[in-house]
């Protein structure tokens, strides 16, 4: 174990802590921006430090392709390679497989009983045989693509490893738990993730159960393969879809292994919000108090506030930088679409309460004429959006430490929902978190009044 987790303050389930990693002392709750290929959307590492980023996420899958983990290792690890002095986290590389496996999954659920049959018939022979048979049917290039994306996953799922296809040269890349950890050991991030079998939460049926058990089986192989436990922290990932029973088995299995930290995976994949927070609540309640908890793929400011109230500590998402590329800024009231024509004459800053370099210097009108046309537009918006996320992290931390967390949550919700129309799932989650938000929720009669006044 190469981390220390020190809780500084609590409010019911929410907690604020110092997370000491090999490269940085972080304050939780914290948001981790995603730097897929060893950089974040045009921002320099000194800018990321200025913004207050504590941990950056790198994608193992992408880094293993280019510049390759061997090269990163040879040049002294990812920290040195990208000149980032603070903490790093790498994912297992398994998530990117969801895309590849998506097709297989759809096929499986649809033709579950014919699964073995399909394997036996279709994939026993090389695709060229099928091509000769089907040559008269026009789309044989499509068949080849279908074959390439589906045959490997099928074969390999039976062999307990996940396949991948390199988009660079099209050669299949096999990813076993051992390989995933070996690659991550070479990259050298402060936190590395165990290889899990990710399944879309919207999928139901035996595939979820299978994925959960596979994740649990793989964790021991990951632990065994981990060569740098004193410099890198291996986090296990709780799977199990939306099924409380499966989640429970998985949590207990992982806690037994006494890992440095735990992640709640398989969420933020299109499930409904009530199911989402219930899974988070269930997992945070069952995970040990003295270990960090990371909710993977969560990045909407509202989700982060809710999850923190439920006792989660870490988050990651591409949302703030991706949305910046499309000209959207994050503000306390929600979002601001800078492409909108109304922005062309708006001489206010993006967020008058924001203290970032962009808000101090620029008007909405100027950003409007940059966005989607010039590279600088998305650079400046990414800067602001990440600043917003980091400010949110700091506010969560300090409000918990200073014992004014409920006030902070209420103020946050009031600004986002000035009419008091806080979504029901947030109200439900806050009730479980033991935070009274009645002051910012419009009661039934009040909302009726509002409707009446708006009609007049």
């Amino acid at each position: 174990m190469a981390l220390r987790f020190e809780i500084l303050g609590r409010f019911n389930r929410a907690r604020a802590a110092h997370l000491t990693l090999p490269h940085f002392l972080c304050q939780t709750p914290l948001f981790m921006p995603v730097g897929t290929q060893g950089t974040i959307k045009g921002l320099t590492t000194s800018q990321l430090e200025d913004i207050g980023c504590q941990i950056i996420l790198g994608n193992t899958y992408h880094l293993a392709l280019r510049p390759t983990s061997e090269l990163i290792d040879e040049l002294g690890g990812l920290h040195k390679f990208m000149n980032w002095p603070r903490a790093l986290l790498t994912d297992s590389g398994g998530f990117q497989m969801v895309v590849v496996l998506c097709l297989t999954d759809t096929l499986c659920t649809f033709l579950d009983s014919f699964r073995m049959l399909i394997c036996n018939i279709v994939f026993r022979y090389p695709y060229c045989i099928w091509l000769t048979l089907l040559k008269r049917v026009s789309h044989f290039s499509l068949i080849r693509r279908f074959y390439r994306t589906t045959s490997r996953p099928f074969m390999c799922l039976y062999h307990e490893s996940l396949p991948e296809f390199s988009p660079v040269d099209g050669k299949p890349m096999l990813l076993t738990p051992e390989e995933s950890i070996q690659i991550q050991n070479r990259i050298g991030a402060d936190i590395i993730m165990a290889l899990d079998d990710v399944v879309k939460t919207t999928i139901t049926g035996p595939r979820i159960k299978e994925a959960m058990y596979r994740t649990l089986r793989w964790i021991d192989r990951c632990i065994a393969a981990h060569k740098r436990p004193h410099e890198q922290n291996l986090f296990g990932i709780v799977q199990g879809g939306l099924d409380p029973a499966l989640r429970d088995i998985c949590v207990r299995g992982l806690v037994e292994r006494n890992l440095p930290g735990y992640a709640i995976g398989g969420l933020a994949g299109g499930e409904d919000k009530d199911s989402f927070w219930r899974v988070v609540a269930q997992c945070t309640a069952a995970l040990p108090e003295d270990k960090p908890r990371y909710v993977m793929g969560v990045g909407y400011p509202l989700d982060i506030v809710v999850c923190s109230a439920l006792g989660a500590d870490m988050y990651d998402c591409v949302y703030p930088t991706r949305t910046a590329r499309f000209g959207t800024a994050l503000i306390p009231e929600g979002v601001l679409k800078l492409k909108h024509q109304a922005m062309a004459t708006d001489v206010r800053p993006i967020d008058p309460t924001c203290e970032c370099m962009v808000c101090k210097k620029y008007t909405r009108a100027y950003i409007h004429c940059l966005v989607t046309k010039d590279a600088m537009g998305s650079q400046l918006l990414s800067y602001h959006n990440l600043h917003y996320m980091m400010k949110l992290s700091r506010d969560l931390h300090s409000s918990i430490v200073e014992g004014r967390f409920p006030e902070f949550v209420c103020k946050f919700l009031q600004r986002m929902f000035p009419k008091g129309d806080v979504p029901q799932w947030v109200c439900n989650a806050m009730e479980v978190a033991g935070i009274d938000i009645s002051s910012c929720c419009a009661t039934y009669s009040e909302s009726e009044d509002l409707m009446l006044t708006s009609k007049e």
């Binding site: 290929q37 045009g42 320099t44 280019r66 510049p67 040049l75 001489v347 600088m376 650079q379």
Partner: protein
């Protein structure tokens, strides 16, 4: 605006150093020959505003922009409401120079130009701008100086078309001056294509007008480097010594040296843009000691025959050294060639950001070397050595080098 040029010394030919002081800003006076950083909508293409202070000051403070960039997206009224360009871009210490042409996204398009105004190729399509509209943009943006509209024609147009372009350019200059109600400093445009007589006529006419300096347009549009020397000389013979001269269309270091040799004071940085986009790092052989170029610097940079290194090349995959070991720019202080190579391979925007910082920093260093050489009275020698050191450069058009520089020697 104040400008003082020191008289040319013996070893300098017509090259000169000057001190440019634009009193409307709080910026320090700037020594010429100087580089104007080409911007898009007021900011360098990829360098974020918080990294601009890492560039050498005050020589990185001259920013060139095209008012035409703002025609899409933001109205002159809004710019004026914000308080002008300095306020809108948030760079109060910088000097903004409005030039309609930027050689990148606003390129003269002589075929659609008519007597009402010049036409440009822009990302939003062809764009014709009339003097009244142009001056409305200028007065809303309040730049430190602006360049009058010019009908820039390529080298191959007919004599008649060329004469018309001079007539129009002069008329538009009068229009721009009369519309210039806010009294922004104006540089008069000089055109005349590839005809010496027209260049002379245009220069003589512009000198008669009330302008603070001169903008030499119509270059970089198909003329050869050889004929350019005569054209530049024809113009310069007619310009007073005490006013600055700006040029557009001279890109390569060799072309810049040709311009300096002719007596030009201000250049744009289109060259840096093209290098940065292509992934080329500028590694000009800057002088180490007086008059000496480190001649093995070229072979050091990965065996390339020319001085610019291609960061996309696989030879830099494992290269943990900065672009230039002794360079003091943000990029060289913080990142390796291997990292830049990776960023270019995966098409990440940070690649351009970091490279533009280095290239700008390095090119400003090249201008500093030029000024030092002139001050020490050895510019012609500097130019000869520089050209000699880069003779194999693939960017030089082969015929223009030998004969050209022998005649100067």
């Amino acid at each position: 605006m104040k400008f003082a040029a020191t008289a040319a010394a013996m070893g300098n030919g017509r090259a000169r150093v000057g001190l440019l002081h634009l009193s409307t800003t709080f910026s320090d006076p700037i020594e010429t020959p100087a580089l104007l950083l080409t911007t898009r909508k007021g900011l360098p293409l990829f360098i974020p505003p918080d990294l601009l202070p890492s560039l050498p000051s005050p020589h990185s403070h001259l920013l060139q922009f095209s008012p035409l960039h703002f025609l899409e997206g933001i109205s002159p009224k809004t710019i004026s409401d914000v308080g002008g360009l300095h306020q809108m871009i948030g760079l109060h210490q910088h000097i903004f120079v409005a030039v309609p042409r930027d050689s990148i996204t606003s390129i003269p398009e002589h075929q659609s130009t008519n007597k009402t105004g010049p036409s440009f190729h822009t990302p939003g399509g062809r764009l014709l701008i009339k003097p009244a509209d142009y001056m409305q943009l200028v007065s809303s943006m309040k730049p430190d100086l602006f360049v009058s509209l010019a009908d820039e024609v390529p080298a191959w147009v007919s004599t008649k078309r060329n004469t018309a372009s001079v007539d129009r350019t002069l008329r538009w200059l009068d229009d721009c001056i009369s519309y210039n109600k806010t009294g922004v400093t104006v540089f008069g445009s000089i055109v005349g294509g590839s005809r010496v007589e027209e260049r002379q006529r245009c220069a003589q006419e512009v000198v008669k007008r009330n302008v603070s300096g001169y903008f030499i347009g119509g270059f970089g549009l198909g003329e050869s480097m050889d004929e350019r020397s005569d054209l530049l000389a024809a113009i310069m013979d007619n310009l007073p010594e005490d006013k600055p001269r700006q040029v557009s269309g001279l890109e390569l270091p060799e072309e810049v040296l040709q311009g300096v040799a002719a007596g030009v004071d201000l250049f744009d940085s289109t060259y840096i843009y093209h290098l940065t986009i292509g992934g080329f790092a500028l590694t000009l052989p800057l002088e180490t000691r007086a008059g000496e170029f480190p001649d093995n610097e070229l072979s050091d940079s990965g065996g390339s025959v020319h001085a610019n290194i291609n960061l996309k090349s696989t030879i830099y995959r494992k290269d943990t050294s900065p672009i230039i070991e002794s360079c003091e720019c943000y990029t060289c202080q913080n990142h390796t060639k291997a990292y830049l190579n990776h960023l270019f391979n995966v098409h990440e925007m940070l690649a351009q950001t970091l490279l533009e910082i280095h290239n700008t920093h390095h090119y400003l260093g090249f201008f500093r070397s030029i000024r030092e050489a002139i001050k020490e009275g050895r510019f012609e020698q500097f130019r000869r050595n520089f050209i000699g050191g880069r003779r194999d450069n693939i960017f030089i058009s082969a015929p223009s080098d030998g004969t050209q520089f022998n005649s100067c020697a």
